[in-house]
């Protein structure tokens, strides 16, 4: 019998830390479960933000924002054009200057600025780890959002 990922798990908020620059800290960690990652994005006024996504122990996404107010992460194409009456207006985080980050596919592990587009959710069989870091030297606020589902 096929497993069903019926447990949605989404969260958004501000990741605040004065931790060592470039030191990755976990945002969410899932172990021992199957599931699907639908999206994870971050944006910060300052400083630059880094995201690392590890699926079943394999690094599959590694990026850093190019500058202030740059969206990076992984998102489904459907999430970008789903606001407004006509569903043709980009969601606010992806509009105007916030959406100037280089776009890429998935996986992407170059560690350079890029927002990865996916059409289908990313499956994981046993573990998912999303980590973020920043390049600043004082306390920093990083806006984050993620959506996933687990068995």
């Amino acid at each position: 019998m096929a497993r069903q990922f019926i447990r949605p798990l989404s969260n958004s908020g501000i990741f605040t830390s004065s931790a060592t620059p470039n030191a990755f800290l976990p945002l969410i960690s899932v172990t021992g479960k199957q599931g699907c990652l639908h999206s994870v994005t971050t944006i910060s006024a300052t400083p630059n933000v880094k995201i690392r996504v590890t699926v079943d122990g394999v690094l599959t996404y590694d990026s850093i924002s190019a500058g202030a107010s740059q969206v990076i992460g992984i998102t489904r194409i459907q999430y970008i054009l789903n606001s407004g009456a006509t569903h043709r207006t980009p969601n606010t985080p992806f509009a105007s200057s916030n959406f100037t980050t280089t776009q890429t596919g998935y996986p992407f592990t170059a560690g350079t600025p890029s927002l990865a587009f996916i059409v289908l959710p990313i499956p994981f069989n046993n573990s998912l780890l999303i980590e973020i870091a920043h390049t600043g030297t004082s306390i920093n606020n990083i806006n984050y959002e993620y959506q996933l589902s687990t068995e």
Binding site: S18, L25, P26, V30, T31, G32, K33, I139
Partner: protein
């Protein structure tokens, strides 16, 4: 001698099958004795186990 420390707080849900989900909850700052040992603590609440990690001196 006191200093501020920051605590990244995580919510950890442990399931009977051995699986777990650990989510970042937020950051809290506290004034503590500078000489206090940096440790990891956990405490149980109704919704799961909350873990304080990465406690470190934030500033003099």
């Amino acid at each position: 001698m006191y200093t501020f420390v920051e605590q990244l707080v995580y919510k950890q849900d442990n399931y009977p099958d051995g699986s777990s989900i650990t989510q970042y909850v937020g950051l809290f700052t506290q004034q503590r004795e500078t000489e206090e040992e940096i440790i990891t603590e956990s405490f149980n609440l109704e919704q799961g186990t909350y873990i304080e990690v990465n406690r470190s001196p934030k500033g003099a």
